[in-house]
Subunit: 338 residues, 2 copies
Amino acid sequence: MTTIKDIARVAGVSVTTVSRALNGYSDVNEKTRQKIAAVARELNYSPNTLARGLVMQKSKTIGLLVSGISRESVKDNFTFEVLCGVNERASTLGYDLILFNTNTMMQREKTYTQLCRERRVDGVIIQGIKKDDPYLKEVVESDIPCVLVDIPVHSSSVGYVTTDNALGAKKAVKHLVSLGHQHIGMINGHGDAFVSRERLRGFSQALHEYRIPFRPERVLDGEFQEKKAEEEALKLLTEHKKVTAIFCASDLMALGALKACKELGLDVPKDISIVGYDNIFLASHSSPNLTTVGQEVYQIGYEAADLLIEMLEGKETNMKRYLDTKLIIRESTAKNHS
Amino acid sequence: MTTIKDIARVAGVSVTTVSRALNGYSDVNEKTRQKIAAVARELNYSPNTLARGLVMQKSKTIGLLVSGISRESVKDNFTFEVLCGVNERASTLGYDLILFNTNTMMQREKTYTQLCRERRVDGVIIQGIKKDDPYLKEVVESDIPCVLVDIPVHSSSVGYVTTDNALGAKKAVKHLVSLGHQHIGMINGHGDAFVSRERLRGFSQALHEYRIPFRPERVLDGEFQEKKAEEEALKLLTEHKKVTAIFCASDLMALGALKACKELGLDVPKDISIVGYDNIFLASHSSPNLTTVGQEVYQIGYEAADLLIEMLEGKETNMKRYLDTKLIIRESTAKNHS
DNA sequence: CTGAAAGCGCTAACAG
DNA sequence: CTGTTAGCGCTTTCAG
């Protein structure tokens, strides 16, 4: 493994000069620079980022902390899409990604701060953490630069990127109301998720705006699971016969609701309209295709990395970024005939 | 940021002793150890892995090189599942993961070896690389410990984990033949993929074993894309009217074939039987559900990490690991009636 | 324009 | 059982 020392020896200069030449400093004679570059290439030199990180006190590495990397969550590629976006932006800007995993943290009994400091990551992007997760508190209190995905919490070192979940929910309700639906149920995720609270807020606000009474008993929690959502939808539809439309806080749950309708012999969209959220790949492949509130998940990851790196490099930047949602109308919604 | 130096000062010992105490060496007085542990906790000490890596010449980090981390490949969560498995095993064994990305490599014009050396990863897991990828050659020639996913290439420092793709294809054919199908077409991926070549080999071998002539003109490449597969299936079904069953080298392509059938007014499975490969999430949610050759993708990643780490830690181990496939019979295949 | 020297935080002989 | 010393590979004052 060649080092700058080797290069220095062969090129007949000092390590200082080698370092400066290789890092593109201006105060190096052009000839010396050429010589050094040639030797470096010849010796097949690669800089040692560990050594560099040690002395520079930064690693050009950002940590990605996701609770979603487990066996179960494989079917939901939200996490993966975020990761792809983060990876794209980070690598373009010269940062590498290191994966943390909350399960591991607990198992090793390491705190968030410890993890970050050990690996000397310059900053962190966090995704899929619950609002009652103890790490969230730590994140906000620590001074490690951090960007949260879908969690609108901020401080001097913490920013976030999210979509306007309340607005997204409103779009769904507006669509349903415009189709003549007045009795709309909701299958939400769970109270610990910021997005759930926001989508519920949007849902009830929209109803309010349309002068439709908001009935809490028509909102059930599907825990973001297909199966659970199916059960809850079954309950919703049997106990509240007037309901002609369901807004689900995720596509996966909408799929569950779809199944529930099938079991009850209800046709979607003729008898019941269903709107999902997320626009996962499956949404355009189910039958009927799902009308859904789409978010650009890849873009969320991209923006998260972009924001974090701007913070790291001391740029003046807005630490709260909102992305847009788009209502995608497919086959699962139709005019109300009841 | 506290260092062992700080601890040494406060505890009134030398840095050596601190280092040894913290690393659990036996030759430290129990009392001193306690004292040091207490001070470390009090000072909120975190070891600096960069410094440690620098002196130890290893980083307890493994690189994950995937070509699948791009915007397009989001729909195919094979990559993600592998990643989850790798992450699980690696983190359990105390290794962190760092993400590389081939696009980045090209763009930065860095070779595989450079990437690995710069980051001082102890080893690498590679996934989704094509057989003609220049990096593959480099991998085999370099002496960096490496595990390949689904590429049966090995050397003294390179191992692999894969499923028996030929056998998987055979299972599919066997199933179709047992249902009475004699004219079976195939939508393959592309010639550059090892898995495609293997699945094709299994396909033709199986036909041979059943004394069914293998007709190359009934094998078309769908390039692992849904859309392309749909087009090819359309061709296959119109040009070869005798075909009553199609074996697709991926579920995504099977979905495309499904669409082609729909367009031609052919019922699946009554008129045409279709078998996919992979058992992606979508396979159990399409209509009809896909009969498919399932592989435990998560497990592939898990084994890859396990194998790599065994190699890194100098354990005697079999550097070629094969996982099993399982034929999953659902709704897209039925008895041949033509 | 170039070099000597110090030091990032840690581990590992070696000597007590 | 403990401390002294050297050094991993790199960047960075500070002098020439």
